[in-house]
Amino acid sequence: MEQIKEELTSQLQNPTAFTIPVFGGIPVSQSVVVSWILIAALALAAFLMTRHLRQEKPGRVQLLLEWFVELINGMCQSNIGRHGGAFAPWLGSVALYIALANLCGIFGLVPPTKNLNVTLGLALSSMALIYTAAFRFKGVKGGLRQFVEPVPVLLPINLMEIAIRPLSLCMRLFGNVLASFVVMELIKLLVPIVLPAILSIYFDLFDGLIQTVVFVFLTALFTGEALEEA
């Protein structure tokens, strides 16, 4: 039992991969390195796949890309409204990153979303997007008014939401990935073969994709709320 505990604790550490020797040393965690690998892979794949796009008779790869882009565009337009198209590239990128980060355990990489700081970074950027969207599309006055909607009495709650929303987004993603990781590790310790592979379909693939959808969908929903009546 002690052995299992130690094993788990060591698995849950976020080791520093290396330190950039400037400003007294900037530690770069393993999660960041894995993220770089994922981003490089995504960029390379996107670059290779979009080299030969055709307007007529698209190939299978192009159909897949078109399906994904239209899915994100449609999701943004139905949840955010007429300005939705402007948010599609950001939300699509976030979706690709989270999905790949959640699933990269399959390829033997440590999921970056297992690191609380990564999910916190994701949540903070989503919040920045949500609260600046109203200023961007409705002006300063409209941007400030989002805090007294629907009635001014709710101002304190709206202000609290600025902190609550990123916390919930961050913790939900982190908690889910962490939990499925821990569960999978325990199962691997108990039954080393067959069963982990089957359950991994749920805990790694399904949960990873579900959390991706939840994160992006909630971001879109909050943005749409901020842009209401824009």
Partner: protein, 156 residues
């Protein structure tokens, strides 16, 4: 496990921004361009098809009208020709009839004259014959009278 590491947070945000620009450049930009281009092409071809259909309908109506007009004109021409030919027929028939009647009358007249002429000449002939016969008779009776007178004289 739950310690906050500001470097990782900042790195993650920078990573996301980099990913966003890369994806916008290599994925969303090109694919959206293709999608919009296709939508525009479809819209254009639909508009063109609609325009062509309208043009075709217009031409169809025009030809229909022309056809109607031509039919009407043809009918008029046929009716006119029929009237003309009927008129000509009647005229020709009337001419022919009058000419025939004239010829008939002429021939009748000629026949009548011929007969009259013949009758007149026959009557003349008969008269001449009668005169000749009377002469002969007269001559022969003079002889008889002479003979009688001779005989009567002889006796006396």
């Amino acid at each position: 496990m739950l310690e906050i590491d500001p470097y990782t947070i900042v790195f993650t945000i920078i990573n996301l921004l980099v990913l966003y620009f890369l994806m916008r450049k290599f994925l969303f930009g090109p694919v959206n361009a293709i999608l919009n281009g296709r939508a525009k092409a479809i819209e254009d071809s639909l508009a063109q098809a609609r325009q062509e259909q309208e043009e075709a309908q217009r031409l169809h109506n025009q030809y229909q009208a022309q056809l109607e007009q031509s039919k009407e004109e043809a009918g008029q021409i046929i009716a006119q020709a029929r009237a003309q030919s009927s008129e000509l027929y009647q005229k020709t028939l009337a001419d022919a009839q009058s000419q025939a009647r004239k010829l008939l009358e002429e021939s009748q007249e000629r026949n009548r004259q011929d007969r009259e002429n013949m009758l007149r000449s026959v009557r003349q002939e008969v008269a001449d014959l009668a005169v000749a016969a009377a002469e002969k008779v007269a001559t022969s009776s003079n002889q008889a009278i002479d003979t009688f007178l001779q005989e009567a004289g002889d006796q006396t």
